[in-house]
Structure formats: structure tokens, C-alpha cells
Amino acid sequence: MKSLRVLLIMMVVCGLAAYPGLAAAKTLKIGSMSPLTGQYAADGNDIRQGVETAIAMWEKKGGVPGYDKIKYYPQDSACDGKQAVSSANKLVNLEVAGVIGAYCSSATIPASDVLNDAKIVMLTPASTNEKVTERGFKYMFRVCGRDDDQSKAAAKFLINRLKIKTVAIVDDKTTYTQGLADNLEKALGGKVKVVAREHINQGDKDFSGVLTKIKALDPDVLYMSLYNPEGNLMAIQAKRLGLRATLMSEDAVYHPNYLKIAKEAGEGTYFTFGQPPSKSIPEVKAFLDAYTAKYGEPGSYSSYAYDAANILLSAIAKVGADDPDKLAEAIRATKMQGASKFITFDEKGDSGSTYKVLVVKGGKFVPFWDPETGKDF
């Protein structure tokens, strides 16, 4: 009895709490979704900090025209459909003008359903699965590259620049890494022999079993299609076991942490990444300065998230946030130099990708090769 009363009260309270509050007239609301807790918290926080940096810079410039202030609602979407849908609905309720997120494709896809129905623009800084934009959603944009683009760049590099014969590919069975590895295998098209295609699990620490197996096959390159923590560990263990192979990896492993943890085991590793953080481009420099001052070195997704927030805010500055169709149009028409790359959108909402190859040299990421020109930097 009493319990039911408590239940009733609880439900009423949560109902009331969820009731759309009276929005202050001149506040611009921006939401983001990324895993703030759990396994992917590191990348999720990079995204949050990237958005915060962009907002702070807009505020410094005097804010977005037509609005008094910008309010930011970062949501923890974990990496899971249920949480993602809840947080998407929460953002719809808050009547945000646009959402940056989510991180995992498995969260982005169900969340984009909700946001698209509610006509809220969503810009993902990290979900590279083709499906995200292949569904013809009008309000869905992608700032990072697509799996197929990155794998093409990597394949080009392995065939044309390194001119190797054999490669072993390891992925960790997530949407992103597996898709990338599959596409790489396809893009290599038999020109480089894939001697081993292994999978590990997320959260594993010990790869000695797999690496011993790969060592016996002695490939020229070990391609690690992993996330950062596993990538760091695998680099160390590969070198320790005495693998001859050159290491190569992608933008999810690209992180200052790789240099800190893998140390000299990571020396000579190649990466494919959107834009080498060169300070010669003023936009990149502005981002690096602002970000580093507050949060330390940016991670792989910080710059994408920063760009996504900038695209959204500039579009709002142009057309306002009242009409979602106009806003989506304005975003589609974006042409700007971002911190991660030069951004334009195609019909589907993909921003295209210009991947560069970087190498770890002397404990730093150094630009190495440009797949577009086929030349070294």
C-alpha cells in the first residue's frame, strides 16, 4: 500500500521533472551524446571537451548572434542503444537546437532515429559506420570520415609507399574496427597478401596468444584496427615478443596516450588520420591553443567534436535555430577549414575525408605521406 503510494509519488515526480521546462527566451541549447562513464569514457570525454572548447571560443567572440548565452547539455550515452535513446529523448525534451554525437555507431544509429523524427540536427564526430548516413536522414551529418575512405588511404599506403608483400590484420570486433578491417582487406585487393585476420575482444589486456601466432607467420606489417587502450598494449607486446612487422594503425588508436604508454615500442608506427595537427594552419592552431590550455593534449576525437560544434554554431549564427530545415540546409552548405580537416558535406551528410599518413618519430606524430599526391611530406 505504502509502497504503491511511494511508487505513485515517484512516477509523478519523474513525470513532472521530465516535463519540458519553460525555456528562457534567448538561450541557445546545444546537446551532446558520448560515453562519459565506462569503457569508452576516455574518448567520450575528449568529445565533450572538444565541444566545450568550441563553445568557449564562441562566447569569447561575443556569442552566437541573436542569443544571450549558450547552454550546453552533455549526455552520457554509454555505448548502448537503450541509454542512447533515453538521452536522445532527454535532449529532445530540452529542446536543444542540435546535438553533437554519439560516439559508438551502436548508439548513434538508434539515437539518430529519435532525433531525426524530432527534426533535430545531429552531427557525429566519431561514428564512421556507413549505415549512419546511408539511411537518407535529412538531419544527420558526419564530421569524421567513413570506414571505406580510411581503409582506401591505408591500402594505398601499404601498396604504393611501403610496397610490402604480407600483412596481418587484427580487429577487436566492434562496429568500427571490424568494418575498417574488412574494408582494408577489400581495398588491398590481393595486391598485399593478408596472412592472418585475427579478432580480439574489447577490454582484453593479454594478446600474447594471438601475437605468438602472428609472429610465426612473419608478416611485413601488423595492422591494428583497434581502439586506443588495446592498441597501446598490443604495440608493447608485439615488440616484446620480437615481431619483425612494422606497425600500422588508424585514428581510434591515434592519441597522445599512444606515445606515453607504448613509448619506444610505438616508434615507427604508421597512422591514418584526418589532419596532422600542424600549427601552420591558423584554425588548427587556434584550436590547439585553446584546448591544450584547458584540458591538455587533444585526443583523436576532440578536434572532430570541436569542428562539429563549430559547424552547428556557425549555421545557427547564419539562419537561427528556429527552422530545422533551414538549419540543415545551412549545415549542408558549410565550407570551412576546421581543426581536423577542410569540411564540406555531400548529399548524404558525409563530410568526405582526406586522410593523411603519420608516423611516430622521436616520440611525436610526424606527417609522413599524402595519399592524394602520393608524396612524402
Binding site: M1, S3, L4, R5, V6, L7, L8, M10, M11, V12, C14, G15, A17, A18, Y19, P20, L36, T37, G38, A41, N45, R48, P74, Q75, D76, C79, D80, G81, K82, V85, S86, S87, N89, K90, V92, N93, C104, S105, S106, I109, P110, D113, V114, D117, A118, N129, K131, K173, T174, T175, Q178, G179, H199, N201
Partner: protein, 408 residues
């Protein structure tokens, strides 16, 4: 008295300092005092507050659930009616976010009630319950995307396949007892998740299954030439809420009937003393298997609905933590008690949402809250057995009478 308590507080603070100092005050080889001082100040202040609020009588803990007597008292009709009315009008009053949370609560109520059969009634500790939920979800997802099977047909199929999985998992575990059972069920749960994640050809692995249809309904319309049946998909949360409400009510009623039935009493006998139960002629192995099967059927129900609601399934929704959450609902609510599970599910699902604004601190707060709830209400929010300190035997009689009344 106060001196003793102050001493306790000081001890607590010393302890907190020892535990927090290396974690908070040393970072990358340097001392950073500011954070530690802040936290210690907060702890001291709250400690002093607690000290001031010393009038709390100490709760003596009773031995936990021994399961004597039938589960719970049925709330008076008025409350039930009010609850039904509230549940019916809820989506009219609220926004999508609240509806979404309410749907999640109802899903977890179904899951909690199902697990309650296994854990609360039959006394089998199951740490891999979410596997059946996954089986239900994947069954609908696969049937729908490959063969276009509609929700209403896939629902019973999903239940059958979940029940099959329950039999397969239940059978080898029947000989095991106590915590051996716990790790084996945990193992099974992990096996199913890993297989879903790796069997690319069938489950599409980590990519998950996209493009699942929402449940569709036919409704009559009157147009030219008589009555037509139009079809529409219950895509929005408003309709989905009513659907899951119906499912949850069905589960609730079935579990209630099971509670008071012969089989329910047999389960409880098995739980209390397996040897004695066997001697009285209960087929214990069969009873345990039935508990697994029925429990997994309800999870299959919930799973199929989940797939229909999110319209995308992916193995990352079926991790061990989810099993733990469902178990938490059962225990927190008060094992074997249906109103308890309603409240438990509301608490476990709504709490993380309430904590949403804490961002980074969300899960830490949730974990702390979980321990606190267990420490302060170890027998659950609404214990299965009404607590009667003086006469334990009496409650049993009156409750079984009540059960008989409800039966007739």
C-alpha cells in the same frame, strides 16, 4: 556518547584521508592538494551534520529473507485502481522522455518478474539472465529482417526460442548448487553475448541488426465500399508505452497466479529445503527446469519488445551489468514480492536518469546508492514477508488464505 561518536568521526576522516590521499593528491608525480582538501572539507562537514543528527535509532538487522510464508500482501483495490488509472493516463500527461523512461521501467519490471521466478521463488542464483532477453530480441530482429515476420507472430516464437535456451542452459546446471550455479549462469550469459558478437553471418556481429519494424496493427476504417483495414506501425513512444504496459500486466498477472499455484509452492519448497521437498514427492529437477523455462519466457517477451522499440539490436545492450541490474531490481524490491519489484524497477531505472546531470559522477553515484540501499534495506524496499517480529507463524496462515481466496 558524543565523545565516542566524535572519535568515530575522526576515525572515519582519518580513514578517508588515507584512502583518498594517493588517488586525489598525487598526479603524474606531483602533489595537487586542492582537490583532496575540497573533498575532505565536504566529508568533514557532512560528518559533522551526521553527528548533529544523532537521534537516529539504530536499526537492528534481522536475518534476511528466509522465505517463510507466501510472498506478499495484495494491496487494497483502491490503490490498484488508482495505479491502473495512473498508468493509463501517464502518456497523455508527459513528454517523450518521460514515456521512454517509463517504457524502460516497464521492460525491467517484466524482466524483474521473470528473474524473480528463478531467484526469488525457486532460489536459483542466476547471473546471466540477460541472455534470454538477448535471445528474445535477436529472434524478433532476425525473423523480421530476414523473413518479414510481424511482431505478433515473432513474439510467441521468441518466447519459445528463449524457453529452449532456458532448457539448454538450465539442464546442465541442475546438479550445481549455490555459487557454482552463479558462475555457470554468468558464463552462459557471456557465451551467448560473445557468440552474438562473433557469429557475423547470422547476427551481423557488432554491427547489429538495423531496420527492424515496429509492431504493426490493423484498425478498421470506414471508407467507400464498407469497412477497410488500415495498417500502421506503432513507432512512437505513445503507442509503445501501451504495448509494453499490456505485456507487463500480462507478466504480472501470470507471475501472481504462478506464485499462488501448486507449482509456485513446489518452487518455494525446493528453495527452502531441496531434500525435504524431494521426500514429499516434488520432482525437484523438473521444478527447477520449469523455473528456468518460465523465467526465460518472460525475458523473451521483454526482449522481443525491446527489439521492436529501439528497432536496432546490438550485442552491447546485453552485457553482464544488465544481468546485475535485473538481479538488483529483484533483491532491492524484496525477493518474491510483486509490488517490491515494481518499485525496485522504478528505482533502478529512474535513478541513473536522475543522476544524468551528474555526467561523469553518474555511475559512481549509482554504485554508491546501490550499496547504501542494500545496507539500509537488506530485505528489500517492500520485503516479501510482512515483517512481524512477534509471531512469524501467523503471517503464513493468513497469507496462504489470501492466496486461496485469490485463486478461487
Amino acid at each position: 556518547m558524543l565523545a565516542k561518536k566524535s572519535l568515530k568521526l575522526v576515525m572515519f576522516l582519518v580513514w578517508a584521508f588515507i584512502l583518498l590521499f594517493p588517488m586525489l593528491a598525487v598526479k603524474d608525480g606531483q602533489f595537487v592538494w586542492e582537490r583532496l582538501l575540497k573533498v575532505m572539507a565536504v566529508l568533514t562537514a557532512s560528518g559533522l551534520l551526521v553527528l548533529a543528527y544523532t537521534s537516529i535509532p539504530k536499526r537492528t538487522l534481522k536475518p534476511g529473507f528466509t522465505g517463510k510464508g507466501l510472498p506478499f500482501r495484495i494491496p487494497p483495490k483502491g490503490i490498484i485502481a488508482a495505479g491502473i488509472v495512473f498508468a493509463l493516463v501517464f502518456p497523455w500527461l508527459t513528454s517523450n522522455y518521460a514515456r521512454d523512461v517509463a517504457i524502460n521501467v516497464l521492460i525491467y519490471i517484466s524482466l524483474g518478474l521473470g528473474l524473480n521466478i528463478v531467484v526469488g521463488l525457486a532460489g536459483l542464483l542466476d547471473l546471466g539472465y540477460i541472455a534470454f532477453y538477448a535471445v528474445g530480441a535477436y529472434t524478433y530482429a532476425l525473423l523480421n529482417t530476414h523473413f518479414g515476420v510481424p511482431f505478433w507472430i515473432a513474439l510467441p516464437i521468441g518466447c519459445i526460442i528463449s524457453a529452449l535456451a532456458g532448457t539448454i542452459i538450465g539442464y546442465p546446471t541442475l546438479k550445481m548448487r549455490g555459487d557454482y550455479l552463479a558462475i555457470v549462469t554468468l558464463g552462459f550469459g557471456e557465451i551467448i553475448r560473445i557468440v552474438l558478437n562473433n557469429w557475423d553471418k547470422v547476427t551481423r556481429g557488432p554491427n547489429g541488426i538495423l531496420g527492424i519494424k515496429a509492431p504493426g496493427v490493423f484498425y478498421p476504417t470506414i471508407g467507400e465500399g464498407g469497412i477497410h483495414f488500415a495498417h500502421f506501425y506503432m513507432k512512437n513512444l505513445f503507442w509503445l508505452y501501451y504495448l509494453i504496459l499490456v505485456i507487463a500486466v500480462i507478466v504480472m498477472v501470470s507471475v501472481y497466479r504462478l506464485n499462488t499455484s501448486r507449482i509456485g509452492r513446489a518452487w518455494m519448497a525446493v528453495r527452502e529445503d531441496e531434500t525435504a521437498a524431494e521426500l514429499t514427492g516434488i520432482h525437484t529437477t523438473r521444478m527447477k527446469l520449469w523455473a528456468y523455462i518460465l523465467g526465460s519466457i518472460f525475458a523473451g517477451f521483454a526482449g522481443a519488445f525491446f527489439a521492436a522499440k529501439v528497432r536496432y539490436v546490438n550485442p552491447s545492450s546485453f552485457v553482464f551489468l544488465e544481468s546485475a541490474l535485473v538481479l538488483c531490481i529483484v533483491v532491492l524490491g524484496g525477493m518474491g514480492s510483486i509490488p517490491g519489484i515494481l518499485l525496485g524497477a522504478a528505482a533502478i531505472i529512474v535513478l541513473p536518469e536522475v543522476f544524468r546531470d551528474l555526467e561523469l559522477y553518474r555511475m559512481a553515484a549509482f554504485g554508491g546508492a546501490m550499496t547504501l540501499m542494500m545496507v539500509f534495506r537488506p530485505e528489500g524496499l517492500i520485503p516479501a514477508k510482512p515483517r512481524k517480529p512477534d509471531d512469524e507463524g501467523e503471517g503464513k496462515v493468513s497469507l496462504s488464505e489470501e492466496g486461496a481466496r485469490a485463486h478461487g
